[in-house]
């Protein structure tokens, strides 16, 4: 089952002589249970593509479908973008981005409550996720008191809270050492398999690409075909 389909996506910053094409003719699909890596040097358009898929940036042309629903087509306004993000996308950030004044458990509860889940159910679900991610013992700790790896696990828990079909991970291993980074990649793979989610990981980290099902590379705003990789 296709979770994400990107069709003829194009994005141009500015207009007239100052126009800069950041993305050109991007077409790809990600299936349920697939772990995809999106690689590319700085300025290749990775972040722009991530922002477009996240419904934060409206593309200049093309369309995006998530879980069978067209969430963006040319000319659409992002009126429902926050609701769609809550329901369909889970985010994992490079800097973990846990809310610093909430405990590990509350960070997960918040994502559930924002999606309309009741307090008690949210707490129960958060505890299940903490257990799944093996950080139950840190449930009441504030992010500042967690290690980098623990923070990333809690952040993954938050991304999984609403069981979104699509998980977007922005450089999830960048702030971790090889061993911890490897464990996070294992975890993402497990999530993709066990939960049947599509996981797209934007990364610079060539050490980790062996673990991905699909690797796509961006250069100058275009997706490269396999022959162009070298």
């Amino acid at each position: 089952m296709t979770i994400l389909r990107v069709n003829h996506l194009k994005h141009v910053f500015g207009s007239g002589e100052l126009a800069v094409t950041a993305l050109e003719e991007i077409d790809f699909a990600v299936e349920a249970g697939e772990l995809m890596a999106l690689l590319g040097p700085s300025g290749s358009g990775k972040s722009t593509l991530l922002l477009c898929i996240s419904l934060i940036l409206a593309p200049t042309a093309g369309s995006i479908e998530i879980d069978g629903q067209t969430v963006y087509a040319e000319g659409w306004a992002h009126r429902e973008s926050r609701r769609l993000r809550r329901e369909k996308i889970g985010f994992i950030f490079q800097g973990h981005n846990l809310i610093p004044f909430l405990s590990a458990r509350d960070n997960i509860v918040l994502a559930l409550e924002l999606n309309g889940v009741g307090r008690r159910s949210a707490r129960q679900r958060a505890d299940e996720l903490l257990d799944y991610l093996e950080v139950t013992h840190r449930a009441n700790a504030l992010p500042g008191n967690l290690s980098g790896g623990e923070q990333q696990r809690v952040a993954i828990g938050r991304a999984l809270a609403n069981e979104p079909p699509l998980i977007l991970a922005d450089e999830p291993t960048a702030s971790l050492d090889t061993e911890r980074g490897g464990r996070v990649m294992e975890l993402l793979k497990r999530i993709a398999r066990e939960r049947n989610s599509a996981v797209i990981t934007v990364t610079h980290d060539e050490r980790m690409i062996a673990g991905f099902d699909t690797v796509r590379r961006l250069r100058d705003g275009r997706l490269l075909v396999a022959e162009e990789y070298t």
């Binding site: 972040s47 991530l50 922002l51 996240s54 934060i56 940036l57 926050r82 609701r83 993000r85 809550r86 329901e87 985010f91 950030f93 490079q94 800097g95 981005n97 809310i99 610093p100 004044f101 909430l102 509350d106 509860v109 918040l110 994502a111 409550e113 924002l114 999606n115 307090r119 504030l142 938050r158 922005d170 450089e171 960048a174 702030s175």
Partner: protein
């Protein structure tokens, strides 16, 4: 989940310190309100305690409290003879400064007719009113005197026979009541050396005017400094008497000014208390503005600290309402906390305050509403900044 409260818990020290600081500013505002209303209450009490229908003072003078007024003592007899007047009592009031209990104290002496006249002391908490013509004193406890203690004023000692509580003038100075002759003596009696100088000056003027030495000796006693003046005559009207008509009659035939109690109160509010109103008003406005600016700055700084968290909230799907509530609630916590602290501090110290503080509920409520509106306005800058924060800020390292 209440994000604001969770954040307050994390920054508890910062919030408590701000609440204490801003709360003290609020306390100063409330105390200023209290001082101002206390002065009005004291001034009005002094007027109303006399239970006079009319105040008769020197022609075109705003006396006796706002401006000095001197009229002959005997004029109260003429006032008493006016149709519609049931009772007319002489009254004198003046400020003095004396050393009492090893410290200089300013107080106001009130002299009145102790045998049934108007203007007798109120708020007596110990002892009794003055019952003898001389050498008895009723003093406010703020002077630090005790019953039975004597106070030297001029050349005589006066025994404290009664103590009052809260009997002060509009400036907060305690009152000391004497019989009218005693009050006049304290005011006018000169020491022997001053009398000699005055007598020599009078002699020289008579001789310069061509009087013989025999005539000078005969005239000199008549020129002696008189003590036969009072500040006002307090008037009680007969039932059914037309107050305005009696006042007009006194002004026309006795060449004095007569004010009703309401007019006397207006004179005090318009005169002595008007400038204080303006000064306290400016200070209160400035202090409230400073308090609100402090809250605004702290909220703004806390919002700036949270900008990445706010971007994250947006990216994980939090609506604007969640973000507005986060900032607004913190502004309200600061505002309400500061007001509560200030109010508690004011009420806790109210009785120990050296001035009479009158905290009117409506004025306290107005201050609260101003603080509340200010607190909401203070959060606007932070809210504006938070709403403009792009969710993309959450991405990247």
């Amino acid at each position: 989940m209440d994000l604001a409260i969770k954040d307050v818990r994390r920054h508890l020290g910062k919030f408590l310190a701000t609440i204490a600081g801003v709360g003290m500013l609020v306390a100063i505002v409330l105390i200023m309100n209290g001082i101002f209303q206390g002065n009005i209450a004291d001034g009005i009490w002094l007027i109303e305690n006399t239970r006079a229908d009319l105040w008769v003072v020197e022609r075109d003078r705003g006396g006796p409290f706002n401006e000095s007024s001197r009229i002959p003592t005997d004029s109260y007899r003429s006032v008493a003879a006016t149709p519609g007047v049931a009772r007319a009592s002489p009254f004198i009031s003046y400020a003095v400064q004396r050393e009492i209990g090893d410290r200089e104290q300013q107080f106001t002496i009130i002299g009145y007719d102790v045998f049934g006249g108007l203007g007798e002391p109120g708020r007596i908490i110990a002892g009794r009113p003055i019952r003898r013509a001389h050498y008895e004193l009723v003093a406010d406890r703020k002077l630090g005197l005790a019953l039975g203690q004597t106070l030297r004023l001029g050349v005589h000692d006066y025994t404290v026979v009664g103590l009052t509580r809260g009997a002060v003038d509009s400036g907060g100075n305690p009152l000391a009541y004497l019989s009218l002759p005693d009050a006049q003596e304290v005011l006018y009696q000169q020491d022997n050396r001053a009398l000699e100088v005055q007598r020599e000056s009078d002699r020289q003027r008579l001789e310069d005017a061509g009087y013989s030495s025999t005539e000078v000796e005969r005239l000199l006693p008549l020129l002696g400094g008189g003590s036969a003046t009072i500040s006002a005559v307090l008037v009680a009207l007969t039932p059914g008497a037309d107050r305005d008509a009696v006042a007009r009659h006194i002004e026309r035939w006795l060449y004095l000014s007569a004010y009703t109690t309401e007019q006397e109160r207006e004179l005090m509010l318009e005169g002595k208390l008007k400038r204080m109103t303006a000064i306290l008003g400016v200070f209160r406005t400035l202090l409230l503005a400073v308090a609100i600016v402090i809250i605004a700055l702290l909220i703004y700084v806390l919002t700036m600290e949270k900008v990445r968290a706010i971007a994250t909230l947006k990216i994980i799907g939090a609506g604007d309402g969640v973000i507005v509530r986060l900032i607004l609630e913190q502004a309200l916590v600061l505002t309400l906390g500061s007001f509560a602290f200030g109010w508690a501090l004011t009420t806790a110290t109210q009785d120990k305050f050296p001035r009479n503080l009158v905290l009117l509920p409506e004025e306290t409520m107005l201050t609260f509403i101003i603080m509340l509106v200010g607190g909401v306005l203070a959060s606007l800058m932070g809210i504006w900044h938070a709403l403009r924060t792009p969710p993309s800020l959450a991405l990247g390292g």
